[in-house]
Symmetry: C2
Subunit: 353 residues, 2 copies
Amino acid sequence: MVSIKDIARIAGVSPSTISRVVNQKKYVKPEIRERVLAVVKETGYVPNNAARSMVLKRTFTVGIVIPDTFNMFQRQLFSTIEHSLEEYGYRTLFFFVKWEEESETRCLRRIQAEKLDGIIMIHEVIHPEFYAYLAKGSVPVVLCTFDRDELALHSIHIDEESAARMATNYLIGLGHTRIGLISGMHFSFGAQRANGYRSALKEAGIRIDENRIVFVPSYSTEDGRAGMLTLLSRLTPISAVFAATDELAIGALRALYESGLRVPQDVSVVGIDDIDIAAYLAPGLTTIRQPIRDMGKRAAEIMAQLIAKSDIDDELSTFGFELVVRESSGTPNAKQIGAQDLPDRASRIEKRS
Amino acid sequence: MVSIKDIARIAGVSPSTISRVVNQKKYVKPEIRERVLAVVKETGYVPNNAARSMVLKRTFTVGIVIPDTFNMFQRQLFSTIEHSLEEYGYRTLFFFVKWEEESETRCLRRIQAEKLDGIIMIHEVIHPEFYAYLAKGSVPVVLCTFDRDELALHSIHIDEESAARMATNYLIGLGHTRIGLISGMHFSFGAQRANGYRSALKEAGIRIDENRIVFVPSYSTEDGRAGMLTLLSRLTPISAVFAATDELAIGALRALYESGLRVPQDVSVVGIDDIDIAAYLAPGLTTIRQPIRDMGKRAAEIMAQLIAKSDIDDELSTFGFELVVRESSGTPNAKQIGAQDLPDRASRIEKRS
DNA sequence: GTGAAAGCGCTAACAC
DNA sequence: GTGTTAGCGCTTTCAC
């Protein structure tokens, strides 16, 4: 492996000069700069990151902690973050963690060994030790798509409860009163979105029937399917279902299909997130869109500022969302209509921020 | 940041001893070992990776080059690889690259700066310089889900052409003769799968009609939709469509839905890959399943062996695949049946390896 | 068994 | 403008 010394020797100058050239510092005579650059090109020299970060005491690396089974929403989020971070000059190291203490502990060890410049959490963890480390302030942290008030960390998210309320209110506005809920047991948004559902019903004066509510262990499509099947098996009539995430909603759609029920004629389905595939389902999924790209960019921006000056310019962290109406929702007992009569995809968008 | 010297000072021994304890070397008196371990635990000392890899001249890092817009198939693949690699003691660094020279060049620079122990390509690249670097042999490489005969690199993949032939033959066996093809322009599998389609038709004595074939720029769902719409607009009758990937198939399903056509009564759709969501679509997608997990594990295994002894134990690299029949396919002009009459998901699986 | 010392590739004072 | 030097945190001979 060719090192800075080799270049120095070949170019007939000192290593410091090479360093100055490579790092675009001034105080190098143009002609020497040219000569060095030529040697660099010729030898294919690329500086060794490990050595650099060792002396600089910076790794130019931010870690992203993300669930092992990250869903499509998180996948879009982390792509955006990765890109933005790269623009700021940081590379990204992913930590896929399972929903279990042992995995988190290992992840924490690894994080510490990496001497990261920053950590972005796209995942809530269980282990208190993990949060204790984050709260210690030894490294900049931003929480993405969730918050922990007690930790006073920077956080990017939407108002989960309001989003769920908007989804539920939309269904109520369509005339539905027998509305089911499928949500997950883990992560705070599961409970927050369930609360939004409850408060929307309450405000509308609709009795909350626990038979119409099911909490599943994960946010997988399979669990969405299982949740819907459970709801169906309870024989409490339902004309619409609010699923706490799009993936859950996709599973619900599948369960309805397997049960021979039509969407939206027999049952309307609404999700949250607006993952890419939502628009390509048949029927297209009505959902609440989170501004994924904006949120990802903002997370990277905050991180970059935190690293540069341990402070951020502006506190914007709660993002707006919007209802995207597609074909999976309609008025209760709507007469069957052919697909060709359906409104355009995302034809009706209702905003709020 | 607590370093090995701090530990040495506190424990009253030399840094070398600490190193020996931490790296589980022998020649340390048990009582000293205990004492050191206690200090390590107490201080929360974690060795600095950068410093280690600097002296060891190994980074314990393998890079995974993957498309910027990786699809769900690739997503499952890289999760598996990441996990297996972790078990072998390697960490993973992702390089998301766009389908353009500039992005590849940047990626190559970054790869070189990282001094990786190995590289797994889940993505074909365009730039010849990139392949030149890989072929140079300065670092172990494994190609995953594609091959480049001229480079003599280790590679993991299925026989793409045979897989496509199996999909097409299945449709032919159902009685279809007017079979469309949607494939992509990039990546070798696009052409290989198209060849499989062609040779299946040829073998069955069915005339190949170029009007039933469309190549789209990417493998996105949107392009699958656009491709299907194009096929439909050509007015050449079609009773079935073979899409070169599941994501393309999902887009095709969507286009059919938008056009008011029923699947499979009016048009059957078959994909390749068996991504997770395929089973949860309505109708469920008939497809060819690639053994994603096995392939991912094997890629990690080969990589680990290559790093350890620059040689592998056994040449297994071409994997089998199987047809998974779901509800998106049926005989041409099948009479409409209710969803409740449909066969169980994946009820019929036809193997081949 | 354990410690002293050298050195991995690089940057940043500090000389000149 | 450029070179010399020290040192980042670690591992590994080589003494003892």
